[in-house]
């Protein structure tokens, strides 16, 4: 009841033109999708930071995985969403209605598919980095992107001379209808909160996924929808000396606008192009699923 009222209030407060809810992007892992409310919110800014610069490659891999999910035409798995939550999501989501309604419209006369929650019709992503980042951590390598199910021809790379240009380019890219995901790679620890707010708004307007990749864990407060700290996790010892193909991530959700946070070991499966919850390399306690003090959020 309270939630419903909050939603109504939010809808009233929103300036016109901003899409109400461009949908969510299920990660396909129930344990993560549940606290996120069905998945990562599209049309929002997500911060993904590496615990240290050495782990930047892993964080970048996680980001590419998310980009790959956002580019794929259909959600990977619906079963991962808790049924009850999904139902409430559907009743709340006005986009779902327009989706149904669009079925009755004459297809040829409608405009190109807008943000219909699935990101259909969008097929490109942009990777924006500062000049130095490419020499420091390497340039995106086409044949390697294939491992994430991303097509190199869908990528536009942009290098920016300074953080200001980077944020500007991100905002421009987010405003483009045909872009599904925008990755911004930042090395500096400082980021203007106004710029983050602008990015969130731009993302909300277009429904694209805005991913801010940061080389070091940020200390400042953030207005992003979620903040993750993602590092590499060792492969399972059972594999022995052989190197496993599937990359593993130790992902910690440190900030979530919806509340619950947690920590997981994930694995990217390049066969069905989705994240899987990895069996832990070493026995650990159950992933904490708690709601920490408000201050953290």
């Amino acid at each position: 009841m309270l939630e419903q009222l909050r939603q109504r209030l939010q809808a009233l407060q929103k300036p016109p033109g901003i899409e109400d809810n461009p949908g969510v992007l299920p990660l396909g892992v129930e344990a993560i999708d549940a606290p996120l409310g069905g998945g990562l919110a599209r049309g929002a800014l997500h911060e993904i930071a590496a615990p240290s610069e050495a782990h930047l490659a892993a964080a970048a891999g996680f980001v590419l995985g998310l980009a790959a999910l956002s580019l794929s035409p259909s959600p990977r798995s619906n079963t991962s969403v808790i049924p009850g939550r999904e139902r409430s999501e559907r009743t709340r989501n006005p986009e779902t209605h327009s989706e149904i309604a669009s079925g009755f419209r004459v297809r040829g006369l409608t405009a190109a598919p807008r943000n219909d929650g699935e990101g259909a019709g969008r097929g490109e992503f942009v990777w924006i980095a500062e000049d130095m980042a490419l020499t420091e951590s390497g340039a995106p390598y086409g044949p390697g992107l294939d491992a994430f199910g991303l097509k190199p021809e869908q990528l536009v790379t942009v290098t920016a001379a300074c953080t200001r240009d980077l944020l500007w380019a991100m905002e421009e890219a987010l405003r483009c209808r045909a872009i599904a995901a925008v990755i911004g790679e930042m090395r500096g620890s400082e980021i203007d909160s106004v710029a983050v707010r602008r990015l969130s708004l731009a993302a909300a307007e277009s429904g694209a996924l805005a991913l801010l990749l940061r080389a070091t864990p940020p200390t400042d407060a953030s207005t992003a929808a979620t903040r993750w700290i993602v590092g590499a996790a060792p492969s399972s010892p059972s594999s022995g000396w052989e190197c496993e193909r599937a990359p593993r991530f130790a992902a910690t959700l440190v900030r979530n606008r919806r509340g619950p946070v947690g920590s997981w070991i994930l694995q990217w499966s390049d066969i069905d192009e989705r994240f899987l919850l990895a069996t832990h390399a070493q026995p650990v306690a159950a992933p904490p699923l708690d709601r920490p003090h408000r201050k953290v959020a």
């Binding site: 050495a54 782990h55 490659a57 892993a58 970048a60 891999g61 590419l64 995985g65 405009a111 190109a112 598919p113 019709g121 969008r122 097929g123 490109e124 942009v126 490419l134 020499t135 951590s137 390497g138 340039a139 995106p140 390598y141 086409g142 044949p143 390697g144 992107l145 294939d146 491992a147 994430f148 190199p152 021809e153 990528l155 536009v156 790379t157 942009v158 920016a160 001379a161 240009d165 500007w168 380019a169 421009e172 890219a173 483009c176 209808r177 045909a178 872009i179 590092g231 590499a232 996790a233 060792p234 492969s235 000396w241 052989e242 190197c243 496993e244 990359p247 593993r248 130790a250 990217w268």
Partner: protein, 513 residues
């Protein structure tokens, strides 16, 4: 054809920037002597002329303002004036060292006739403080001769013969030696050779003399080489009142683009490169160019490009007292098919193109790139990053995927260093994977490795480099790297290597997620 001769270009340039009292002369070294190169009006009245030795001039007039010559500054000034003359015609050629040639055929009526145009040009040059003479004639040669040696004015086509006859032979733009040898046989004026038999002249003085004469007489066509390529589409606007605000500049850009659109549509073209030329009232000319990723016609898109270009200008658009003319030219046009709108894919492509254009306009086209697959097995050459505005339709990735499936290519890293970074590695067996390695001062303990994948160097090329053995390794913390050893120990042991070949060394080439 209009020939403009700036008689005192060097001295006018100096006089514009300083208050001069004494006769001004410009000197330069010719051979071993310090000679006068240019003199101003006062100096000329006092009997000084170019070619005189400086010592001699000083002896004649003790009080002289002597300035060393600066040919580059003169040339730069001439180019500036040439740019400024673009307001009259797009066909402007520099006639070094101190003249300009303007092809005004078909342009003069925009100014209300040739005489009005000359009056306008003269007024502006006078205001800027230049000494000049202008002549209009049917051919480049005749106009040049009249401007430099005859009476400036407007000579109708067909009168070249009577115009040229009284002028000295130097007016034909001949080499001084040719003029001197013609003078030796008593031929001093153009009239002297016009009716002479042609064969003996050619036999004695070469074909150059008669060719120049024919060109001046319009008997042979002389091409004009414009300083800037002529744009296929041009729209321009003059203002009664100079404009200065950026919004006005953008508004006029959109209006000019609207006019260009009509012309572009008629010929089925779209703009790939657009240039905005702004003429400032004081004669400075500002050119701003923007490229596009696909043929463009829409005025709103063109305006949006210039919004970014103006925002990205390193030095702000300095309007001074305002711009009194603006010209928008399409310097590169390409056929542009009419597209049916409303079909998702194409609209998306257009949206991406617009984004690429905007980013390129603001950040520079070199910064916005796409990846294309190349036909190479060497990892760093297998992919090229090219400006997104230049990529064609075939990016080679389909072929790459076929190749990868055919040979079952081992996984490739997500990020690749443009230059492999040297590392210190310890391997258990010479040809095996490393046990631990040090990269960027950090030690990594390898717990898992896969490989080797041998990639031969380009043995057909001198700079091919040695064969590489690539390994995919994982360290204790789970970081994954792509390492290679350049060179094989086997070769080292066999002693196959030619002396001077470096011992096998380890490099880090990329990182996996």
């Amino acid at each position: 054809m209009l020939s403009l001769w700036l008689r005192r270009l060097s001295t006018d340039r100096i006089a514009r920037s300083r208050k001069q009292t004494a006769p001004l002369i410009v000197t330069g070294k010719r051979g071993n002597a310090e000679l006068l190169v240019a003199v101003d009006d006062i100096a000329e009245q006092r009997g000084l002329s170019p070619g005189l030795a400086l010592a001699q001039a000083r002896a004649m007039h003790p009080v002289l303002d002597v300035v060393p010559e600066d040919a580059e500054a003169d040339a730069a000034l001439l180019e500036t004036i040439a740019d400024w003359c673009l307001r009259y015609t797009p066909l402007v050629a520099c006639d070094a060292p101190d003249g300009l040639l303007l092809d005004i055929s078909g342009c003069a009526h925009l100014y209300g006739g040739e005489d009005t145009l000359v009056a306008d040009l003269s007024g502006r040059l006078e205001a800027a403080g230049f000494a000049f003479s202008i002549a209009i004639a049917g051919s480049i040669g005749a106009a040049w001769a009249a401007a430099h040696f005859g009476a400036p004015g407007n000579y109708a086509c067909g009168n070249e013969r009577s115009l040229l006859a009284p002028l000295p032979l130097a007016a034909l733009r001949l080499a001084p030696e040719t003029v001197a040898s013609l003078a030796r046989v008593g031929l001093k004026r153009i009239g002297d050779i016009v009716d002479m038999p042609r064969a003996p002249l050619t036999a004695r003085f070469g074909s150059g003399v008669l060719r120049q004469l024919d060109r001046a007489l319009c008997a042979e066509h002389e091409p004009l080489t414009p300083r800037l390529p002529v744009a296929p589409y041009v729209a321009e606007q003059r203002f009664a009142e100079p404009i200065a605000r950026e919004e006005d500049v953008l508004a006029i850009t959109a209006r000019l683009a609207g006019r260009l659109k009509v012309a572009l549509e008629r010929r089925g073209d779209g703009a790939r490169r657009i240039e905005l030329t702004l003429f400032r009232t004081d004669g400075a000319v500002r050119r701003i160019a923007a490229g596009t990723s696909r043929p463009l016609r829409d005025p709103e898109d063109i305006r949006a490009l210039f919004v970014e270009r103006l925002a990205a200008l390193a030095d702000a658009l300095d309007p001074g007292f305002g711009f009194d003319m603006a010209r928008l030219s399409v310097t590169v046009a390409e056929p542009c098919q009419a597209e049916q709108i409303g079909i998702g894919g194409q609209e998306d492509a257009a949206a991406i193109g617009r984004l690429v254009d905007r980013l390129s306009a603001r950040l520079g086209s070199q910064r916005v790139r796409r990846l294309i697959a190349q036909d190479s097995h060497i990892p760093e050459f297998a992919v090229a990053s090219v400006p997104a505005q230049m990529t064609g339709t075939d990016d080679g990735w389909a072929a790459f995927r076929r190749y990868r499936d055919d040979v079952a290519l081992a996984p490739r890293p997500m990020r690749l260093f443009t230059r492999p970074e040297p590392i210190e590695a310890v391997a258990e067996v010479p040809d095996g994977p490393p046990l631990r390695f040090r990269w960027r001062r950090a030690l990594h303990e390898v717990i898992a490795a896969e490989g080797p994948e041998r990639i031969e160097g380009a043995w057909w090329s001198e700079h091919g480099g040695p064969a590489r053995d690539y390994f995919r390794v994982e360290d204790k913390t789970g970081l994954r790297f792509w390492l290679f050893r350049a060179g094989l120990y086997r070769d080292l042991l066999r002693g196959d290597l030619t002396p001077g070949t470096p011992a096998p060394a380890w490099f880090l080439h990329g990182t996996f997620a």
